[in-house]
């Protein structure tokens, strides 16, 4: 932990995601307006004392929508990554510990999934179902577990031959116990790094989906759809592009800085 704080980059990352996290959690208290409050007399106002980030095409306060959008963007990121990490841990453990047929099947499955472009899968599923928050989270999660699987498997492969594992096996510990108490805890490093970086990717994917009209649905605010709503008049309503764009940039940057800092940290340990 100390190393993270010593490294200015990862410290910056930690600070950034903490601030955004706090803003997101307390969005309800911090928003001066109801993010869904429509006021057609206040359409497309530029930032001023009342509306710090201006208003959108339905007169809703952009600052409040940005705060709630933080909730949404982070929620999507975290849940999606949570799903992919859990799947990845399970499959990676089985493949790395048991080897043999299980390993072959799982790795071939990974190859198959990597061959089908993930954007196609996400697109197809969301287009066919409905672009709700839950579907988006699940689909992003279901299409990004491959990296974690490979990571966990690689860690298990190298850890499996170590003395403490052999000792535990001789002592008669069950496979599950060995995986859960010995192997997984020692593999945490790369998993954590991958998780942190995964949140960043998921936030970017959601904004891309919003651009195509397949992101989080109206009237819910997300950074992606605030940006997309304003794209046909960015010359006029610059605030609809600037703030969400910067927010996405800073958030993704923060997660990446932290993630890479953690990676350096863990690398130097091994």
């Amino acid at each position: 932990m100390r190393k993270i704080i010593k490294n200015p980059m990862s410290l910056a990352g930690l600070i950034i995601i903490s601030i955004i996290g706090i803003l997101a959690i307390f969005a309800g208290y911090l928003s001066p307006f109801d993010p869904n409050y429509i006021n057609i007399n206040a359409i497309l106002l530029s930032p001023d004392g009342t509306h710090w980030m201006g208003t959108d095409a339905l007169g809703r306060d952009v600052f409040s929508r940005m705060l709630h959008g933080a909730q949404i963007s982070l929620l999507v990121g975290i849940v999606a990554v949570g799903i992919s990490t859990i799947i990845g841990i399970i499959l990676g453990s089985v493949a790395g510990y048991y080897r043999g047929i299980a390993d072959t099947i799982i790795m071939r499955l990974v190859d198959v999934m990597l061959s089908i472009p993930s954007f196609f899968l996400i697109l197809a599923v969301i287009a066919f179902l409905t672009p709700s928050i839950w579907n988006i989270m699940i689909v992003i999660g279901l299409t990004s577990w491959m990296g974690v699987t490979r990571l966990v498997r690689a860690e298990f492969l190298s850890l499996k031959e170590r003395d403490f594992v052999l000792a535990a096996q001789t002592l008669g510990a069950s496979d599950l116990r060995i995986i859960l108490t010995h192997l997984l805890p020692n593999s945490l490093g790369p998993i954590i790094v991958s998780t942190v970086l995964g949140v960043a990717s998921a936030v970017l994917v959601e904004s891309g989906l919003s651009f195509l009209g397949l992101g989080v649905q109206a009237p819910t605010a997300s950074w992606g759809n605030i940006l997309t709503d304003g794209k046909e008049y960015i010359q006029f309503a610059w605030w609809l592009s600037l703030f969400p764009g910067l927010a996405i940039l800073i958030t993704v940057l923060g997660y990446n800085l932290l993630g890479e800092g953690l990676r350096d940290n863990f690398d130097q340990n091994t």
Binding site: I38, A57, A127, L129, T130, G213, A218, E232, Q235
Partner: protein, 542 residues
């Protein structure tokens, strides 16, 4: 690397502070017509087949319409005039239309145009093997024949009032080029020969379609020598190209019309804006087969609870109108005598309570333990989405719990509309020029894939619609449809939300555009438009 970054930041800074007007030309000069020049516009989708009866998409018909003619067309007041026909007569029993075709007309390849072409086209569109979805209107013709090379006769078993409209939309194809071809597969669809103002010059897939003047054009040469349509799928990119002067015209949205242009004087120096009545209306549709929407009081209550003026001001920035009948405002068929349902919250509550609904602890109306809640479905269309959001807000205010779902088109049609698995929709229809509304409102049209998907069933309306199709006397016809639209409005199976205006931005270098847009629209006289030599782009090709 650093230099590049610095340049980038610099240009961003410079750019955001002011907009350099690199174009100091004065476009307001009055210059007499000159022929030549090329108009550049843009489309979001690419045509895929220039035989309009087979292509299903609007991009294809937009281009095909420049290349082909029909027998009739609309004049600037939306009456009928001859396109390939000089004149036409309708028999006294209204069962026979005789078209006198123009003579001494040639196709773009110099072959003569004759009645055989019309007969051939009719045979093709009614042929069950032709992959066209539009055959049904033409199958009503019991007998089509050529009296001689320039008289075409269409006979019907029963008088069919919309007939003239159908003959104004069928592009006549050249028999001599297509008689041995499989029309579903023919290369002609990518390289057609027509009779109208323009012919296909060059089609670069994915990028642009170029049209050039057809010297054999039925109506004589247009002033603009070429038309170039660029394919630009993203509307924000299109708008940027318009502002930069790379395309000459564009359909713009209300915000661009009312906010962007007025805030930029340099844009108004270069570009003129035009406003006209649009071609469609947006409505809120109930699934009449699902409770409680089978109860007319509930439907009316919801209609009273929706503030349509607010929707027009919010979504369209005031650039639209309320309608009470499905016809284009300002045209003959519009029923002006219907009293609007205004925005009246107390009336709405009255009707809900009359039907047995009471506000529950959550401030939502409830009856027999079931709260009044439903889901609005719509497709991926910004305006419809915003409309749904406004409706949701108003209904929520009054105590009706509404959620919104936006769905991609094919899923929308197949999973929800065809199956009848929906509660309410926000969708649009076009504002018809012919008053016939059979396929949308007749009770026989409720099958899967047909257009009476909301499940409307009214025997009186059925009779009116059947009679309306057979009545060729306009006054009597108007009475029929006035009664029809009154019943529809009284029963509120759909709530008419708005008819938006068509907003067009046209660069000032394009001269000849009518200052006052006629009912047929601003593009109606585009064959008279011209670009003075000094405003033309640097094209070395001419």
């Amino acid at each position: 690397m650093h230099k590049f970054l610095a340049l980038l930041i610099l240009s961003l800074v410079v750019g955001c502070n002011n907009s350099q007007n690199l174009d100091n030309t004065n476009y307001d000069d009055l210059i007499p017509p000159e022929s030549g020049g090329a108009l550049t516009n843009a489309m979001i989708g690419e045509p895929n087949n220039l035989i309009a009866m087979i292509a299903g998409d609007s991009a294809s018909s937009a281009i095909a319409g420049q290349i082909f003619n029909a027998l009739l067309k609309y004049d600037e007041n939306l009456g009928f005039e001859g396109d390939l026909a000089n004149s036409w007569t309708i028999s006294d029993d209204y069962k026979k239309i005789t078209f006198n075709l123009k003579q001494d007309i040639k196709w773009a390849d110099d072959e003569p145009f004759t009645c055989e072409d019309v007969l051939f086209t009719w045979k093709k569109v009614t042929d069950p093997d032709t992959r066209t979805p539009y055959g049904s209107d033409y199958q009503l013709v019991s007998k089509a024949s050529c009296a001689n090379n320039h008289i075409f006769i269409a006979e019907y078993d029963e008088p069919y009032a919309p007939a003239l409209e159908t003959w104004a939309s069928l592009h006549i194809l050249p028999e001599h080029l297509l008689k041995n071809e499989n029309i579903n597969d023919t290369y002609f669809s990518l390289n057609p020969t027509g009779s109208n103002y323009y012919a296909l010059d060059e089609w670069t897939t994915g990028q642009q379609v170029k049209l050039k003047t057809n010297p054999n054009s039925v109506h004589g040469r247009p002033l603009l020598e070429k038309k170039i349509t660029r394919i630009i799928p993203d509307l924000s990119s299109q708008f940027m190209e318009l502002i930069a002067g790379n395309i000459d015209l564009m359909n713009i949205n209300p915000i661009q019309f009312s906010r962007v242009f007025p805030s930029r004087s340099e844009l108004n120096d270069k570009i003129n804006l035009y406003k006209e009545m649009g071609n469609g209306y947006t409505y809120f549709g109930f699934n009449l087969k699902k409770k409680p929407f089978d109860d007319i009081n509930i439907r009316k209550a919801i209609s009273y609870a929706i503030n349509k003026e607010e929707i027009i001001n919010g979504v369209l920035l005031g650039l639209g109108e309320e309608i009470t009948s499905p016809y284009k405002p300002g045209t003959y068929w519009e029923n002006k005598s219907i009293n609007k349902i205004s925005f009246d919250v107390s009336r709405s509550r009255e009707l809900l309570e009359k039907s047995g609904y009471q506000l529950n602890a959550n401030n939502i109306y409830e009856k027999d333990g079931k709260p009044l809640a439903f889901e609005i479905l719509t497709n991926q269309n910004k305006q419809r989405e915003m409309t749904a959001v406004l409706i949701q807000r108003r209904l929520q205010d009054i105590g009706i719990d509404v959620s919104i779902r936006v769905i991609e088109w094919a899923s929308f049609v197949n999973r929800f509309i065809k199956t009848g698995e929906f509660e309410a929709v926000v969708l649009g229809w076009s504002l018809s020029l012919d008053p016939d509304q059979y396929s949308i409102w007749h009770s026989s049209q409720q099958g899967p894939g047909q257009f009476n998907f909301i499940g409307y069933n009214n025997p009186r309306v059925d009779t009116l619609l059947e009679n309306g199709r057979k009545e060729l006397n306009n006054e009597k016809r108007k009475q029929i449809y006035d009664e029809f639209s009154k019943i529809i409005y009284d029963e509120q199976p759909i709530i008419y939300l708005y008819a938006g205006y068509g907003l067009t931005a046209i660069h000032k270098k394009i001269k000849g555009v009518k200052k006052i847009t006629p009912p047929a629209g601003v593009f109606h006289n585009d064959y008279e438009w011209y670009i003075p030599r000094k405003f033309r782009r640097n094209e070395m090709s001419l």
